[in-house]
């Protein structure tokens, strides 16, 4: 297991390097400079040259890249251009919290409701709960979350006045955005767990267990869920990354100072160091989550051995 994880981490470094190179090149192809163009245009040519030199932007792109790589390895991600001279790590971490809170709540609520609905639906196959769950699932996947967000903001926030319509003051501000985001994981979890549970419920060992008089609850929790949850873990891994790293639409509708907005801002403003910092953060986070999901498989189902690990060795 340790060897496996070690090797995966090594691959991750290689992947990360490729991502960094690609992002750097693509970013430099973006037209424009990170400076406030209107003001920059007013500077004399000498002042413009001095500004480019100060940030190393006068050097050829390969040199700029090596310099960036060197600084990164030393743990220095540079400073933001847009947020004048603030270190990139501080910019990112100041925006990470709100996105993570909203995302985590959305996943927890979505999973809890989605899994319950899905399992009940499978047990009452073709019954009312089943049909109801499927309608929810189809709606949850097909209605974009920003539509849900706008509706929630208008009706629950503005018309009923039950919850704040946005901003970032108290915990209650995070409820509507989390609700808006939870429908997708809810629907996905419900759909997958239902299909898998239906499948597992028809297996011989379930029929045997049932014929031996095992209670429905014990049957579901002990014998069915463990087998049916594996595909959900796969799906959820990428969804967790998406949700925790923020949604531009949701953040902008509810005025949440999150990381999704930061990413778009940074690209729009050619804020090179922030783009690079965020891309690396996203990639690392994604790869670690996938790794975590793979390791989780073997915990959920001991029969699954992570690759390369042979029994008896």
């Amino acid at each position: 297991m340790a060897r496996y994880i070690g090797r995966r981490l090594l691959y991750m470094i290689v992947t990360l390097f490729v991502i960094v190179v690609l992002t750097f090149v693509l970013m430099k192809i973006l037209p424009g400079s990170p400076f406030d163009t209107e003001r920059f245009e007013k500077l004399t040519p000498e002042q413009q040259a001095a500004a480019l030199e100060r940030y190393g932007l006068d050097k050829p792109i390969p040199v700029q890249f090596l310099r960036y790589l060197g600084n990164t390895l030393r743990g220095d991600l540079g400073t933001s251009f847009y947020y004048t001279n603030i270190p990139v790590t501080r910019v990112i971490f100041s925006r990470l919290g709100p996105s993570m809170l909203v995302g985590a709540q959305a996943i927890l609520v979505g999973l809890a409701i989605g899994l319950s609905l899905g399992i009940v639906a499978a047990c009452r196959h073709n019954g009312f709960v089943d049909n109801f769950t499927m309608v929810i699932a189809v709606l949850g996947i097909s209605v974009p979350n920003f539509v849900v967000a706008a509706l929630l903001q208008y009706y629950v926030g503005l018309k009923l006045g039950w919850l704040p319509i946005g901003f970032w003051k108290t915990w209650s501000c995070s409820v509507l955005p989390s609700l808006a985001l939870c429908f997708q994981p809810l629907a996905t979890a419900a759909r997958f767990i239902r299909t898998e549970t239906l499948d597992v419920l028809q297996q011989d060992y379930i029929v045997t267990a049932r014929s031996k008089g095992m209670s429905q609850a014990r049957l579901l929790l002990k014998h069915t869920l463990r087998n049916s949850i594996i595909p959900v873990i796969t799906i959820m891994a990428s969804m967790v990354v998406n949700l925790l790293t923020g949604s531009l639409a949701i953040e902008s509708i509810f005025s949440i100072p999150g990381i999704g907005g930061l990413f778009t801002e940074s690209v729009k403003n050619n804020d090179y160091n922030v783009i690079m910092g965020l891309t690396m953060f996203y990639s690392l986070f994604y790869m670690l989550t996938i790794l975590l999901a793979d390791v989780t498989y073997s915990l959920v189902d001991p029969r699954i051995r992570v690759a390369g690990e042979k029994e008896g060795e």
Partner: protein, 527 residues
């Protein structure tokens, strides 16, 4: 599993430490910024929302009143020498910073030097330096700070020596970049200066209680402020709301006392007693590439006269924008009796017959009908304007102009490095004087249409050096006339407008067309 989930949730909650206190209560004024703050540091900032915050928590020597005229603020009075070059400001007695330190003339000397000391980072260094004696030489690192015409003579006396006499210097120094800074505090905070309410000092009508670039600012009344009696609010809640419909929802939910409307919302609220409009000194204009052979003078003039600016403002933009008579905005100071525009008359206006004549002459000169492309930046204002102008050219000149829309950065890059036909662009005044626009076209860069004209540059220099205000005004009028009417390098379209809703109980909210856009000091809530 449950424990893990709890742990994750707890960790996330801890991460979100910024869920914090806000100024609350009935007598708190709720406003918003429509984009995130880039910094709260006055030295490196140039953003209009930053100026609003700074105007609330800090103050300059003078402050603009509701008619945009400067009134004594931290300076109790000032005198001007006979030659108009030396300004001597006397500070009020007993001024203090929010940490109790005395506020002295030294704090002005330090901030003014700081403001022009680092041209690449400082938003306004290149604007301010030319006004001060030896300012430009210091900005370029050629001389020491002690040689700049900025001196604290004693605790209460601040003396400024100008490079040239300047009729609007008293209005100019209300710019928040020229507010005082406590040197000891500023240097002690280093990079952390103004990154939170704890790392900034206040001396204005309000004191910052929280500052967050992406959340906003909260402030409470400053009881130690010299004019605290005039301040009726308990505090200000200045949120960041980047989405315009979210802002409107917030207004309707009672979370904002004032909101700006986008064009699409204007029709719903016109005639509402809470509805209002105003315009500021940001001029939208057409920039021609004068080095482009197919853009000959007649073609440029045709494009100038063919745009129906009235309809553009009243039916398309609908946000209170006003038709421009040139690149110098309506309302810019001229002399004691007239604005610049009133004195100069209009150089940019709609005249379809004239446009057609020039077009025919231009085509005859070229020997063919040119295919033209209009460069424009993304954004509702630019998009709506581009489509409307395209339509004007179709109706008046019978031509089909291609619209090439890209990000602002990309458009600027293209204007700078390549040839183009014409582009939609804009410039906001840095100070209340025509020179803030006229000097732009001396740069000879692509961004200014590759306009290279020694005669024009000489006129700008002559205006800079002219001591007599009337003569100076006349030179500037002639300069703009040459730029637009004679050479048609550029042509004005409109001055930016804003439509807003404001609660009927709000009084004393002042907007300024240049510098600090809004003034909260005199706001009263008659709830």
């Amino acid at each position: 599993m449950k424990k893990t989930l709890c742990a994750v949730l707890l960790a996330v909650v801890l991460l979100t430490g910024c869920l914090g206190a806000y100024a609350e209560g009935d007598n708190v004024f709720h406003v918003y910024a429509d984009r995130v703050f880039r910094t709260f540091n006055q030295v490196i900032g140039s953003d209009s929302h930053l100026f609003e915050v700074l105007g609330a928590i800090s103050e300059g020597l003078l402050r603009l009143d509701e008619n945009h005229n400067p009134q004594p603020a931290l300076a109790e009075s000032f005198t001007i020498s006979e030659d108009g070059l030396v300004y001597t400001f006397i500070l009020r007695d007993g001024l203090v910073w929010s940490n109790g330190a005395p506020l002295t003339a030294k704090d002005f000397e330090f901030s003014w030097i700081e403001a022009i000391s680092d041209s690449e980072n400082n938003g306004y260094a290149d604007v301010i330096a030319p006004f001060l004696k030896n300012g430009v030489a210091f900005m370029n690192g050629e001389i020491e700070a002690s040689e700049v015409g900025v001196k604290a003579l004693d605790e209460k006396t601040f003396e400024v020596t100008l490079a040239n006499p300047c009729a609007f210097f008293d209005r100019f120094i209300t710019l928040p970049v020229l507010f005082p800074l406590n040197e000891e505090f500023y240097k002690a905070q280093g990079d952390l200066f103004a990154t939170s309410a704890d790392t900034i000092l206040c001396c204005g009508p309000f004191i910052a209680t929280s500052l967050d670039l992406s959340v906003g600012a909260t402030m409470v009344k400053n009881e130690a402020y010299w004019d605290a009696d005039s301040v009726k609010l308990d505090g200000i809640d200045f949120k960041v709301i980047t989405d315009s419909s979210a802002a409107l929802n917030a207004y309707e939910a009672g979370e904002l006392d004032r909101v700006n409307l986008s064009s699409i919302d204007v029709l719903n609220f016109m005639g509402d007693p809470e509805f209002g409009t105003y315009s500021d000194f940001r001029n939208y204009y057409i920039q021609y590439d004068v080095s482009n052979p197919k853009m000959n003078l007649n073609i440029r003039k045709a494009l100038n006269y063919a745009v129906d600016r009235e309809t553009l403002c009243d039916a398309i933009l609908m946000t209170g924008a006003v038709p421009a008579g040139g690149v110098v905005s309506q309302g810019i100071h001229g002399n004691d009796t007239q604005t610049f525009r009133e004195a100069a008359g209009d150089f940019s206006y709609y005249d379809p017959d004239l446009a057609k004549q020039y077009w025919d002459a231009g085509v005859a000169e070229l020997g063919y009908t040119p295919e033209l492309t209009m460069l424009t930046a993304e954004g509702t204002d630019f998009n709506d304007m581009a489509v409307f102008i395209q339509d004007c050219y179709r109706k008046v000149l019978g031509i089909e102009v291609t619209i090439d829309s890209m990000t602002q950065k990309a458009r600027n890059e293209k204007m700078k490095t390549e040839n183009y036909d014409f582009a939609l662009s804009a410039w906001g005044a840095d100070y209340d004087d025509a020179m803030t626009w006229l000097e732009l076209w001396t740069s000879e860069s692509g961004y200014r249409g590759y306009h290279i004209d020694p005669e024009y540059n000489a006129m700008v220099e002559a205006a800079r050096a002219e001591v007599d205000p009337e003569a100076r005004l006349q030179i500037m009028i002639n300069t703009e006339k040459k730029l637009i009417e004679e050479d048609c390098v550029v042509t004005g379209l409109y001055d930016r407008g804003f439509s807003f809703l404001q609660r009927s109980y709000v009084e004393g909210y002042i907007t300024h067309p240049v510098g600090q856009p809004s003034e909260f000091k005199y706001v009263v809530l008659n709830k």
